[in-house]
Amino acid sequence: MATFSLLVTANPYSSQGQFSAIQFAKTLLEQGHQLMRVFFYADGVLVASRLHAPPADEINLTKAWAKLAIEKDIELVACVTAANKRGIVNAAEAERNALTGDNLDPAFAISGLGQLTEAMLESDRLITFG
């Protein structure tokens, strides 16, 4: 069995990339492979907001990732630089930047690009969805 990590840069809802990434993640887990980490970068970080409110008959991508993370114990990590500049902040960053609120979904962590490099070094495959 192999260890995968994913790099997701696709804008949620604007393009198909996040849907593809979730499907790929679910499939590899069903096949018994490991998913070490999903790293969100560029516009991909937008999915880490807990404030998305898609229509009731459409998938909530944030919740879909969160479900996968909780059930299968997978790390969801958003790049701090990419996230903060796009308005995705956790409580500590909100305070540091004197913002009125935080919006990071609790299933996600915010960290540096080193987490992507580490994922490459420790996984057999890195698959990008942009």
Binding site: A42, T117, M120, T128
Partner: protein, 121 residues
């Protein structure tokens, strides 16, 4: 031996942040001692053009950082000959990066084939 990574710049700067975001990945991977090859193909060669002034657009100029690649230990930097010809550029119009080499498409294909990871954005 650490796994190697090949970073492929294939888009012109500023219309998207792809170049800057790839550059940040390259610098971080260098900090982890991954052997890195940076490749500029297609419109990505415009990332290396001298005289960029994105300040006029209030966009941060990341091009100076390309000159610092060797300082970060990234010494394999290739620009595609065919793209240079296509856009009528010569090497003197590009940033002075120590060790910057022109490579043929065949050469670049080989670099991609040799690397453990290949990234575009």
């Amino acid at each position: 031996m650490n796994k190697s990574i090949c970073i492929v710049f294939n888009k012109a700067p500023y219309g998207s942040q792809s170049g800057r975001e790839l550059l940040d990945i390259a610098l971080m991977a260098a900090a982890f001692d991954m052997p890195i090859t940076a490749i500029f193909i297609d419109q990505g060669v415009y990332q290396l053009l001298k005289g960029q002034e994105p300040d006029i657009l209030h966009i941060k100029n990341h091009s100076a950082t390309f000159k610092a690649l060797p300082l970060y230990g990234i010494e394999e930097v290739y620009v595609e000959q065919q793209a240079m010809q296509q856009f009528k550029l010569d090497i003197h119009q590009l940033l002075e990066i120590d060790g910057l080499q022109q490579a043929t498409t065949d050469g670049i294909r080989a670099k991609i084939a040799q690397s453990d990871f290949v990234l575009t954005l």
